[in-house]
Symmetry: C2
Subunit: 227 residues, 2 copies
Amino acid sequence: MKPSSAVGGPKFRREAPELRRDELIAATLACLKKHGHDGVSVRRISAEAGVSMGLITHHFSGIDALLAEAYEALAMRLLTQNSEHAFAAGADPYERLHRYFTGSFTPEAIDPAVFRIWLVFWSLVPHSKTMRAVRERTYGRARATLERLLAGLPNAQGLRVEAAAIGLSALMDGLWVELSLNPRSFDAATAVALCDDWVQALASGSLRGLRVQSPVTARRHARIVAP
Amino acid sequence: MKPSSAVGGPKFRREAPELRRDELIAATLACLKKHGHDGVSVRRISAEAGVSMGLITHHFSGIDALLAEAYEALAMRLLTQNSEHAFAAGADPYERLHRYFTGSFTPEAIDPAVFRIWLVFWSLVPHSKTMRAVRERTYGRARATLERLLAGLPNAQGLRVEAAAIGLSALMDGLWVELSLNPRSFDAATAVALCDDWVQALASGSLRGLRVQSPVTARRHARIVAP
DNA sequence: GGTCTTATTATGCGAGCGCATAATAACGCC
DNA sequence: GGCGTTATTATGCGCTCGCATAATAAGACC
């Protein structure tokens, strides 16, 4: 019973555009979470939001624009809450990184349903310049956050922090993908431990290619282009 | 002009079921490569194979079965060719692993179009028990291959090889995902170097949680359940 | 309280989808 | 060379899709 229960009541609410846009974005994420790719549908999303189809084309230039905004909303939400969680910890760089890891492998973070949302967005990246731009931005932010965290390590000045962020980011993503596809393949604590160990190895200089000015570095590591 | 050029020639070829099945599997992969999720369509796949729709339901129990077989075919092909490439190298464990890495980050391996195939398959995993089984099997094989390669390291008896395979597999996958989404974010050589460095750190015992019997190991690393 | 803006709904159109069912013809077999 | 098996095609049905267009009404403003 969506319409107002009062018989003569208004048949719909007229909301501020920005509010309605947020509702539609939330409905989009809910829809992708429920139905995966089949959730990419004007009809489904509008039904999820409890409004009629036309509202989507009214508030957005099209479904693509709505998807891009949903992508950005989800990515930014996760990024900020994770980094806040990490930086809220004390000044100990290892502890901060550890917090970042634990926050990245919580049960909610490795929810297979949430992973399916990402799969949808990723699959749209090659087609849409907008989606690509969102991904570049969010990936860049994730790497920047890791760089900041890694820069706090005792011997950070002797480390190629940008390259290290690439590696650590990949390690985390790989663990996250695997856990999302099969939460039973290994424990979240294992994932956190693997990340902690990697940081430890980095800090101790055991990841040779990630040390600055290493003669072997210039040969083995190609130049990193703009993220 | 698909039908035979001779006017009175046969209108279609009657092929051995197994051959036709292979053709349909190949057409499925080609279709997913071209169209992503929109390629999951009886009409599109059959058109790609140059046959009529009905053949799919005739040779397979349904589109789901065809997709599962295509998934397995692609995964097994990549797995075998990569591991053959690695084991073909000499007995030096580092060299073998290095070969495995380089083979995993060739331009063909990080083709965004191929990545889209995987996205489709991954998105089907939560729904289909068959797809899940295929994924379990292929992921297990990938880990087993890495375990074999890591077991060749000098101090392998002092290492938790199964746990190490999880970490290395995740690192590789994470790098592969990122490169597939944006081949320009960093160089393939960087990815290989990061993997090599990780192996080096592992072999030198710098990844503390991956050493056997370490007192900290039991605390930090939870037990690994069946892959 | 009338009026105007515009957020919102309702409806129709054409196309593509999966699936089922019937018709057809290639090719092995004797 | 006719015959039977079955691989293969052709066709139709009901559904949902995205998109466009017209009709409606909520709520602000004076």
